[in-house]
């Protein structure tokens, strides 16, 4: 079973709509006990790293998320749910989950409009089942002022151009994160969700 983490600062209802559309069976989860029963976890995200970390802290979910990721069970973090996998965010200097090596940085407002809002091209940089049935590059919907800079170059799974090339998707094992909003990226986003479901089900 897939659990969608439902917390105050997130947009779990939109992700739930997308999962329903692809026919996934899932449950909304918001307590450590519920999280621990799940094969796969999806952490949706909008807004700020601080509000997200605070919200997860309040529900006492930090430990359960960390245990899930460390044991390489399927995880999919979207936008802020992706960013907080890393050590620290420049956004308010917030310490994050520290599960992947790297930092979250702000786009340079001198060179690009911030936030980045709109459809941008993601080029897939290595083979992975998460890209099943998609072309080598596709368009996804982004809304972000910050981006991830992983310290290990092999983490990057997708790259996107906005002022410079940044890592728009990363993975290690079955732990995935996308900077773009899969739930708002039309059929391409729905396909990635379908692929994540297959990966999670294969883990059952």
């Amino acid at each position: 079973m897939i659990g969608v983490i439902d917390y105050k600062a997130g947009n779990a209802p939109s992700v739930a709509n997308a999962l329903r559309r692809v026919g996934a069976s899932f449950r909304m989860v918001s307590s450590p006990g519920e999280l621990e029963e799940m094969t796969g976890l999806i952490l949706p995200g909008v807004g700020s790293a601080q509000a997200t970390m605070d919200s997860l802290e309040e529900l006492d979910l930090i430990g359960a998320i960390k245990r899930h990721v460390v044991s390489d069970r399927p995880y999919l973090g979207i936008c802020i749910g992706f960013q907080i996998l890393f050590e620290r965010s420049q956004e308010g200097h917030v310490p994050c989950l520290d599960l992947l090596p790297g930092h979250v940085k702000k786009f340079d407002p001198e060179s690009v409009r911030v936030p980045q809002i709109g459809w941008n091209r993601v080029a897939f940089v290595r083979e992975d089942p998460i890209w099943a049935n998609l072309p080598a590059a596709d368009y996804f919907y982004f809304v972000n002022s910050y981006y991830v800079e992983p310290d290990a170059p092999d983490l990057a799974l997708g790259r996107t151009e906005y002022g410079h090339r940044f890592c728009s998707m990363a993975s290690r094992g079955k732990v995935y994160g996308t900077q773009f909003h899969l739930e708002k990226s039309a059929e391409a986003g729905l396909q990635v969700l379908r692929n994540f479901i297959s990966i999670s089900e294969g883990d059952n």
Partner: protein, 262 residues
């Protein structure tokens, strides 16, 4: 490379897409959910619903329609009109919309922009502004004034000042809606849209006046204009001809504009 966005805009009354002429003579075009789904299938980049009010109480936001659309449409979806408080914003976002657009209420209570940005992130807050050319003066240095309440009430605010102030308060996008151009099908007001785009760092949306794809190309020719709102040219029976999203995108791509492919 970030592509330019094509945003379909609909006025919604009682769950129906309607088209007014000079703020009256509303004719119903289609069910809001059906129209939204059709646009989604046609690969529109984004959808905005305005004045989405329920029949039982004209002032109440039609949350059921918001929810029904969010279940069928997997592109960003903005709701505007009728949002007066942080609670209204919360309700709309929890129903599945990505963003809220505030206009007259932001003028009445600018702190609403700040509250929304603080609670949900600035990306959720679109500041929509109705601008009219009034000529340059000491009070209105840009030559464009902000109007509210369906273009009926002048505010004495300079459009460029208001845009900058809105950005400072936390608006994540600014939608410049020209009262002069709206409904003319003669093209966007490029002057004020360009002036605002030059002076703010958040994405700017051109709105009001598009009649043919070339008008959209003109707006996208201005650096900093990230998106264009289209309405009549998609579905109004009161325009010379309607265009499909595909036709519009083909023409824009043909002109070398970066768009999400059809």
């Amino acid at each position: 490379m970030l592509t330019k966005r094509l945003i379909a805009c609909f006025d919604i009354r009682n769950g129906m897409v309607t088209k007014a002429h000079k703020f009256q003579d509303n004719i119903d075009i289609a069910k809001a959910t059906d129209m939204a789904e059709k646009m989604y299938q046609d690969k529109i980049d984004e959808i905005i619903f305005f004045d989405i009010t329920a029949s039982s109480d004209r002032r109440k936001i039609d949350i059921d329609t918001v929810r029904a659309v969010a279940e069928k449409v997997f592109v960003p979806f903005t709701v505007g009109g009728g949002i007066k408080t942080l609670e209204d914003m919360t309700e709309v976002l929890k129903a599945g919309a990505e963003k809220i657009s505030i206009d007259s209420m932001a003028v009445r209570n600018p702190d609403l922009i700040r509250q929304g940005a603080e609670a949900f992130g600035r990306q959720c807050v679109v500041l929509s502004m109705q601008v009219q050319k009034v000529g340059k003066s000491e009070k209105i240095p840009s030559g464009y004034e902000i109007f509210i309440d369906g273009a009926r009430t002048a505010t004495g605010l300079d459009a460029l000042d208001w845009a900058k102030r809105g950005e400072g308060l936390g608006a994540g996008e600014i939608c410049v809606n020209s009262i002069d151009c709206d409904g003319t099908h003669d093209g966007y007001d490029l002057e004020i849209t360009g002036l605002i785009a030059e002076n703010v760092n958040v994405p700017v949306i051109a709105s009001g006046g598009a009649g043919v794809p070339a008008h959209i190309a003109d707006a996208f020719g201005i650096p900093g204009v990230s998106a264009a709102i289209i309405s009549s040219m998609l579905y109004s029976p009161r325009i010379a001809r309607n265009y499909s999203v595909k036709e519009i995108k083909e023409e824009l791509i043909g002109l070398g504009i970066a768009m999400r492919p059809y």
